[in-house]
């Protein structure tokens, strides 16, 4: 990475990244190490889409309100439009592209969304799926109120949210049943 200026010791900014020089960012995207160049001011959302070609993450409002660009940063749901690409250097980023094991299959959350008609145009869906991924890890057995509170961070103008709530509760139930089966088979 190029430095702003080289004024020797005593300059706190001697290790800063200059505004006009490309900086290189390397991160782990869905388990694969990826790198690219960007300006310091480039948003993580734009870096993912334009530099790494990961266009599954959508960009809506660009000020943190709509939730379309939500990704996982080190496993935690966050707005990729409120984070700089340089801040993601060395971190793990998970996007909707990583939710299924292959391009031909869907993850259980995605299958539930299809089953419950939890999307129409799909613009908001990638972000919602990433929030749900983090949320269900923390709260494996949520009630409807908790799901609606989590979804309040996303705007969806197609569904009215009710089918999304149903899909999330359905997945939670299925995962609970699965883990009970696994426990039983270990006895």
């Amino acid at each position: 990475m190029r430095t702003t200026r080289n004024t020797g010791s005593g300059d706190a900014f001697s290790v800063a990244l200059a505004e006009d020089a490309p900086c290189s960012v390397a991160l782990e995207l869905n388990g694969v190490t990826r790198s690219g160049a960007c300006e310091t001011r480039e948003l993580l959302s734009d870096f993912l889409r334009h530099e790494l070609g990961a266009t599954g993450t959508h960009v809506g409002c660009e000020h943190g309100v709509c939730g379309a660009c939500t990704v996982l940063v080190d496993g935690v749901a966050a707005r990729s439009c409120l984070m700089l690409a340089v801040q993601a250097h060395g971190r793990r980023v998970d996007t909707v592209e990583g939710l299924s094991s292959s391009a031909q299959t869907l993850g259980d959350l995605q299958e539930a969304f299809a089953r419950h008609h939890a999307l129409q145009c799909g613009f908001c869906t990638a972000g919602i799926l990433m929030s749900c991924t983090d949320f269900l890890r923390r709260v494996p057995n949520p009630d409807e109120d908790a799901v609606r509170e989590m979804l309040s961070g996303h705007l969806c103008r197609c569904t009215g949210y009710t089918p999304i709530v149903a899909a999330v509760l359905d997945v939670a139930k299925l995962r609970q049943a699965q883990s009970r089966e696994q426990e039983a088979s270990h006895v």
Binding site: A12, H63, A78
Partner: protein, 271 residues
């Protein structure tokens, strides 16, 4: 909706951040969680020359109990405090406050100190800090000083912080015996900026009630343990004292109405 160009510095440790602030002063902005600042940068409402990123400065990322306070460091996220298992016993009012702050996805990254340093008049954390009688520790390369929340907040997005200072930590007093708490707010949609927010700390002989979203900063009123018409009258006086104005959202009269209603509610519901 993209930020103007800036140079970016990732602070290796606190000293590094303080040296940068000493050097750049008002040309620099501190980037912690970025959940207010990044939106401000995206909209180009601020165009700093330097960004000093403290979000990965490990020594600032701490939450600990120390001499009767919950001490939250500059890089600690709201989520890390919200999901703390002992928070219910330590600072119950904070636990009641978090669900009102924006959304889960924002609290994951937004910091407690960042919200307080930003000093939005309708933000929940400045209100909770003021109502609890907490304080703010500011540190520059040369000195460290601690200000009460009442002295720290000075107006709309204005605080007592000097350009070379970092909000190093904030301290919330731990629950004292006999204290009961409540927090509520009214907004058009869940997670929106509150039209009026109210926090209360009630004991057997006193009421502390704080109101956000009306004046240019959160405001605290200390009352004796009034009941009935006396309490309604005191809340009415308080609502007028806040100097509500008509704006694009609602009228001043409606804000005063909300202060009276929500104020009554938090005092009655405090537990």
């Amino acid at each position: 909706m993209k930020p103007a160009p800036f140079a970016y510095l990732r602070a290796q440790d606190t000293r590094h951040a303080l040296d940068a602030l000493a050097q750049a002063g008002a040309d620099a902005r501190v980037l912690a969680g970025g959940q207010s600042l990044m939106a401000v940068l995206n909209m180009r409402l601020a165009q700093p020359r330097w960004l000093v990123d403290i979000s990965r400065t490990a020594e600032l990322d701490s939450v600990r109990v120390e001499s009767g306070h919950l001490v939250v460091g500059a890089a600690a996220t709201q989520g890390s405090v919200e999901w703390r298992e002992t928070l219910r016993d330590e600072v119950p009012l904070l636990r009641m406050t978090f669900p009102h702050i924006s959304h889960f996805q924002i609290r994951n990254r937004g910091t407690v100190c960042g919200s307080i340093a930003h000093a939005d008049p309708s933000a929940e954390l400045p209100l909770a800090l003021l109502t609890l009688g907490g304080d703010v520790t500011l540190r520059s390369a040369k000195r460290r000083r601690t200000l009460s929340a009442a002295d720290f907040f000075q107006g709309m997005l204005m605080t007592a912080r000097e350009p070379d200072e970092l909000v190093e930590s904030v301290r919330f007093p731990l629950k004292a015996p006999g204290q009961r708490f409540a927090f509520t707010e009214f907004s058009a949609r869940h997670g929106d900026f509150a039209l009026v927010s109210c926090a209360a700390v009630v004991t057997d002989d006193a009421i502390r009630i704080g109101v956000g979203g009306v004046a240019d900063r959160p405001v605290l009123e200390c009352l004796p343990r009034l009941e009935g018409d006396d309490l309604r009258s005191a809340l009415n006086d308080f609502s007028w004292k806040l100097g509500a104005r008509d704006d694009a959202n609602v009228s001043a009269a409606y804000r005063r109405h909300l202060v009276r209603q929500l104020g009554w509610r938090v005092i009655k519901e405090a537990k």
